[in-house]
C-alpha cells in the first residue's frame, strides 16, 4: 500500500512538474523585486518595480531611483520573439538618449511579456494580469503596447479605470479598427466599450486595418486580379482585416469568390484548396495570423492551386521569417502587407536612428517595428515632459501629439487616437527573403468603404 502511495505521489509530482514547466517555459531572467508601496507622485524618485514574473528589472542608469516608470507590453515568446525583443532594445536606446529624463522627471523602463511559451503568442490571462499590475503600481505613468489588438482589447479598459488615471497607452503595432473607431468590420459597442470612464487613453502610430484592407485591395487590383477568395482565422483581428479587404475589393470592382474560415488546429487544408480551385479565383487573401497554422495553410493552398494564384496576407503573417520557416518553398511570391513604412523610406531623422541603433545590434539589422517602438517611446517621453506629472496628465498629452520631424517623419494624433500618416508597406517573399514591393497609402474614399 505504501509503495502504491509512493508511486501515486510520483505521478502527482509529474503532473506538478508539467504545470510548473508550463508556467516558466520562457526562462525569465531573475531580478530583484522591490517591495510595493506607492512611490512616484512627488519628486522623491522611489519608483517600485512591476512583478518579475512578467517584467524585466527596471532599466534606469540615472542618479538615484527614477521618479516614474513606464512599461512596454509585448509578446516576448514565440515566433515573433526576435522582432519584439528588438523593439524593447529600441525603447531602451531612446530612453538612454534622453538620459532617463522626460523634462524634469526621471524615468525608468520595464519590459513586460504578454505571451506564454505554450501559446507562443499573447495570452489573455497574461494581458489582464499585466494591465492590473500597471494599474496597481502607482509609479507606472504610461504604457507602450500592445503588439496584438486582442491583447489591447483586454488592457485598454483596465488602464482606463486605473486609479488617478486613466493611464495613457501608445501602441506601435495594433491595427484592429474597433480599438479607436467604428467601421464595417467592427463589433457593436466598439470602441466605446474599451473606455468605461468615457475618457480616451489609447493612441496608436500605425495605420488601422481599414487602411491595410484598402491597401491590399489596391494591390490586388494592381496585380490584375479579377476574382479573390477570402479566408479568415475566426479571430477578431483576422475577421476584421478580412472584412475590410472584402469591402474594399468589392468597391474596386473585383469579384469575391467566397469568404470562409480556416481552423488553426486542422491537419489538412486540401479540401479548402479544392473548393477555392473550383471557384476559379486568381487570388486568395489570408486574413489571420501565421501562428494559426498559417504555414501549413500556405503549403496546401500552393499545392492545390498551383503557382499562378496569388496569395495575399496582412501583417498577421509577420515576422516574414516565420512564414518562410512554416511554409518553406510554398511562401515564394506571396505578399505580406505591414502597416507602416519600411526603414529605407524614412526621412533623415529616421535614417539616423536606424544607423545609430543598428550599430548597437549584433545582427546590424533593424526591424521596421523597432522604428515604430522608438517613435512610440519618443512620443511617450514628450507627453510625460509636457504633463503635470500625473497619469491623467500624461494620457491627455498623448492626444496632443504633433510630431514634425520624428523617426517616422511628421504626423499628428486625432481625437480618436489615430495617426494621420497611414502608409502600408507591401513585402514580397523572394528566395526565402522579404523584399519591399511597394508602399501604398490608400485614398480615404476607399478606406471609408472598408
Amino acid at each position: 500500500m505504501s509503495r502504491r502511495l509512493f508511486l501515486g505521489a510520483l505521478a502527482a509530482i509529474a503532473v506538478i512538474l508539467a504545470l510548473v514547466a508550463a508556467g516558466c517555459g520562457g526562462s525569465k531572467k531573475s531580478s530583484s523585486t522591490t517591495t510595493g508601496g506607492g512611490g512616484g507622485g512627488g519628486g522623491g524618485g522611489n519608483a517600485s518595480a512591476l512583478p518579475a514574473s512578467s517584467c524585466s528589472p527596471i532599466y534606469y542608469e540615472g542618479s538615484g531611483k527614477p521618479e516614474f516608470i513606464f512599461a512596454s507590453d509585448l509578446p516576448l515568446q514565440g515566433s515573433g520573439r526576435t522582432q519584439t525583443v528588438q523593439m524593447t532594445e529600441a525603447i531602451k536606446f531612446i530612453l538612454k538618449q534622453h538620459n532617463f529624463k522626460a523634462g524634469d522627471h526621471t524615468v525608468g523602463y520595464q519590459s513586460c511579456d504578454d505571451a506564454t511559451a505554450q501559446a507562443g503568442k499573447w495570452a489573455s490571462e497574461k494581458c489582464s494580469a499585466n494591465a492590473n499590475a500597471y494599474a496597481n503600481n502607482k509609479s507606472v505613468i504610461g504604457v507602450i503596447g500592445t503588439f496584438n489588438s486582442g491583447c489591447a482589447e483586454i488592457e485598454i479598459p483596465i488602464l482606463n479605470r486605473a486609479p488617478d488615471g486613466p493611464i495613457g497607452m501608445i501602441s506601435p503595432a495594433n491595427t484592429y479598427v474597433g480599438l479607436t473607431h467604428a467601421g464595417p468590420g467592427t463589433a457593436a459597442g466598439e470602441p466605446d466599450k474599451y473606455y468605461p470612464t468615457g475618457k480616451r487613453n489609447y493612441i496608436r502610430i500605425v495605420a488601422a486595418d481599414d487602411y491595410q484592407g484598402a491597401a491590399d485591395a489596391t494591390l490586388a487590383k494592381q496585380l490584375g486580379l479579377k476574382k479573390v477568395y477570402i479566408l479568415n482565422d475566426k479571430e477578431a483581428y483576422g475577421q476584421g482585416v478580412a472584412t475590410d479587404f472584402k469591402n474594399s475589393v468589392s468597391k474596386l470592382g473585383l469579384t469575391v469568390a467566397g469568404f470562409s474560415a480556416w481552423n488553426g488546429k486542422a491537419a489538412s487544408y486540401e479540401g479548402i484548396a479544392t473548393k477555392i480551385k473550383q471557384t476559379g479565383a486568381d487570388g486568395v487573401f489570408l486574413g489571420g495570423l501565421i501562428c494559426e497554422n498559417g504555414g501549413k495553410l500556405v503549403k496546401d493552398l500552393r499545392a492545390g492551386l498551383g503557382a499562378n494564384v496569388k496569395l495575399l496576407a496582412p501583417d498577421g503573417f509577420t515576422p516574414i521569417s516565420a512564414v518562410v520557416q512554416g511554409a518553406g518553398q510554398a511562401a515564394e511570391d506571396m505578399t505580406v502587407s505591414v502597416a507602416g513604412q519600411p526603414n529605407e523610406n524614412l526621412g533623415a531623422t529616421g535614417k539616423k536612428f536606424v544607423k545609430d541603433f543598428g550599430a548597437t545590434q549584433s545582427s546590424g539589422q533593424v526591424d521596421p517595428y523597432s522604428s515604430y517602438a522608438a517613435q512610440a517611446a519618443e512620443v511617450l517621453l514628450t507627453a510625460i515632459e509636457n504633463s503635470d506629472g500625473t497619469r491623467a496628465g500624461v494620457s491627455d498629452q498623448l492626444f496632443k501629439t504633433d510630431v514634425s520631424d520624428g523617426i517616422l517623419g511628421a504626423f499628428k494624433i486625432n481625437a480618436e487616437g489615430d495617426t494621420n500618416a497611414n502608409p502600408v508597406t507591401i513585402y514580397s517573399i523572394k528566395g526565402g527573403k522579404q523584399t519591399t514591393l511597394k508602399v501604398i497609402t490608400p485614398p480615404t474614399s476607399l478606406v471609408k468603404a472598408a
Partner: protein, 352 residues
C-alpha cells in the same frame, strides 16, 4: 450468440419493428447521400479529389486511433497521453530524418529507403519504450484505484509530454522538408493526387492487418484478449497480466511512432500541440467505430477524414470550413444516439 438468434426471427417481424429512431436515422443517411450525389454530378473532379484527400487524411487519423483503441480494449482506460507520444514520434522522426540523414525528396531511392526504415525503427522503439514506461509509472500503481484516478494521471502525463515537446519543437509549427515525392501520381480535372499521399495512406492498411493478426491469431493476442475480458481469471489461467498490459502499451507506443513519422511526412509540419488536437479526433474516431475494435477505429477515422474534406472541399450547399469541427462532433453524437456501441461495436472484447 443472441445476435444469431434474433437474425433468424427477423424475416417475419422486420417490417413492424422499424421504430421512429431508426427511421430518422435512415432519413438522415439518405439526406447525406443525396447531398453527396448532387455534388458528384455537379463537380465530379472536385468530388473525386476531395474523396481521395479525405480517405488519405482519415487513414492517417486511423493510425493514431488504433493506439487509443488497442489500449482501451485491454484496460478500458482512455490513454490521453497517447496523442502526445505520437507528437514526440513526429519530433523524433523529424530530428532523425533531417539531422542524421538530411532526407529530402531529391534523394535516390537507395538512400531514401534504408534511411526511412532506420527513422521508422528509431521512432517506434523510442515511442514504444516511452509508452510502456508511462504505463509503469502512471497507470500500473493506480490499477485498483477508482477509474477516475488513472484518467487524471493520463491527462497529467499528456501535459508533461506536451511540455517536453515544447522544449524540442518550440511553440511555432516547424516545417518538415518534403521527404517523399510531391509529384503527382495522377490528376483528376486539375486536382493532383501525389505520391506522398498515396504512400502514407496505403501504409495504414498493413499496420491494421498486422495488428488484427496479432490480437486474433497469436498466443500473445490470446493473452491480451483474456486480460481484457477478466484480469483475475486470466491471472488464474497462468497469464502474466502485468507483462501483457506492458506489451499492449509497448505495441501502442510503436504504433504512435509509425503514426508520428507518417504524419510528419504527410502534413510536412509538426507542432508541439498536434497530439492534443489529433488525439481528440483519433479518440472520436475510435468511439465512432466502436472503441476497442481495431478495424472500427480505422473505419471511424476514415469517416471523419471524409466528413472534414467533403465539408470543406465540396461547393454545393456545403456548410464549409467554418463548421467542420461542429459537424464532425454532431455526427459523432448522432451516430452514438443511433448506435451507442459504435459502428462496428459489437465485437469489443468486453462485449464478449
Amino acid at each position: 450468440m443472441s445476435a444469431s438468434a434474433s437474425t433468424e426471427a427477423l424475416p417475419t417481424r422486420w417490417v413492424p419493428r422499424v421504430g421512429l429512431l431508426p427511421a430518422i436515422g435512415l432519413f438522415l443517411v439518405l439526406l447525406v447521400l443525396v447531398w453527396l450525389g448532387v455534388n458528384l454530378v455537379k463537380e465530379p473532379s472536385a468530388f473525386a479529389a476531395t474523396f481521395l484527400d479525405g480517405l488519405t487524411l482519415g487513414l492517417v487519423y486511423g493510425l493514431v486511433a488504433l493506439g487509443y483503441s488497442l489500449v482501451y480494449g485491454i484496460l478500458e482506460l482512455i490513454n490521453f497521453a497517447h496523442g502526445d507520444v505520437f507528437m514526440l514520434g513526429s519530433a523524433i522522426s523529424f530530428g532523425v530524418a533531417t539531422n542524421w540523414f538530411s532526407l529530402h525528396d531529391t534523394n535516390s531511392l537507395g538512400k531514401l529507403i534504408p534511411a526511412l526504415i532506420a527513422t521508422l525503427a528509431m521512432a517506434m522503439i523510442v515511442c514504444a519504450c516511452l509508452n510502456a514506461t508511462i504505463e509503469f509509472v502512471a497507470y500500473r500503481p493506480l490499477r485498483s484505484a477508482p477509474r477516475l484516478a488513472p484518467l487524471i494521471t493520463a491527462i497529467g502525463m499528456s501535459f508533461f509530454l506536451q511540455n517536453v515537446g515544447l522544449r524540442f519543437i518550440g511553440s511555432a509549427p516547424v516545417s518538415v522538408p518534403n521527404i517523399l515525392s510531391h509529384k503527382a501520381v495522377f490528376s483528376i480535372g486539375g486536382h493532383e493526387y501525389r505520391w506522398y499521399q498515396l504512400i502514407v495512406g496505403v501504409s495504414t492498411l498493413p499496420v491494421l492487418f498486422g495488428l488484427v493478426y496479432l490480437v486474433q491469431q497469436t498466443r500473445q493476442g490470446k493473452a491480451m484478449r483474456a486480460t481484457a475480458q477478466d484480469q483475475d481469471a486470466a491471472a488464474m489461467m497462468g497469464i502474466n497480466v502485468n507483462r501483457t498490459i506492458s506489451f499492449t502499451f509497448f505495441i501502442a507506443g510503436a504504433l504512435a511512432g509509425v503514426a508520428g513519422l507518417l504524419y510528419a511526412i504527410y502534413t510536412t509540419n509538426i507542432a508541439y500541440d498536434q497530439g492534443f488536437t489529433l488525439g481528440l479526433i483519433a479518440f472520436t474516431a475510435a468511439v465512432l467505430g466502436g472503441i476497442g475494435n481495431l478495424p472500427g477505429a480505422v473505419l471511424g477515422a476514415v469517416l471523419i477524414g471524409l466528413i472534414q474534406q467533403f465539408n470543406e472541399g465540396l461547393s454545393w450547399h456545403a456548410p464549409g470550413s467554418d463548421w467542420t469541427q461542429s459537424i464532425v462532433f454532431s455526427i459523432l453524437i448522432l451516430i452514438l444516439v443511433f448506435r451507442p456501441e459504435g459502428l462496428l461495436g459489437e465485437r469489443t472484447p468486453e462485449g464478449g
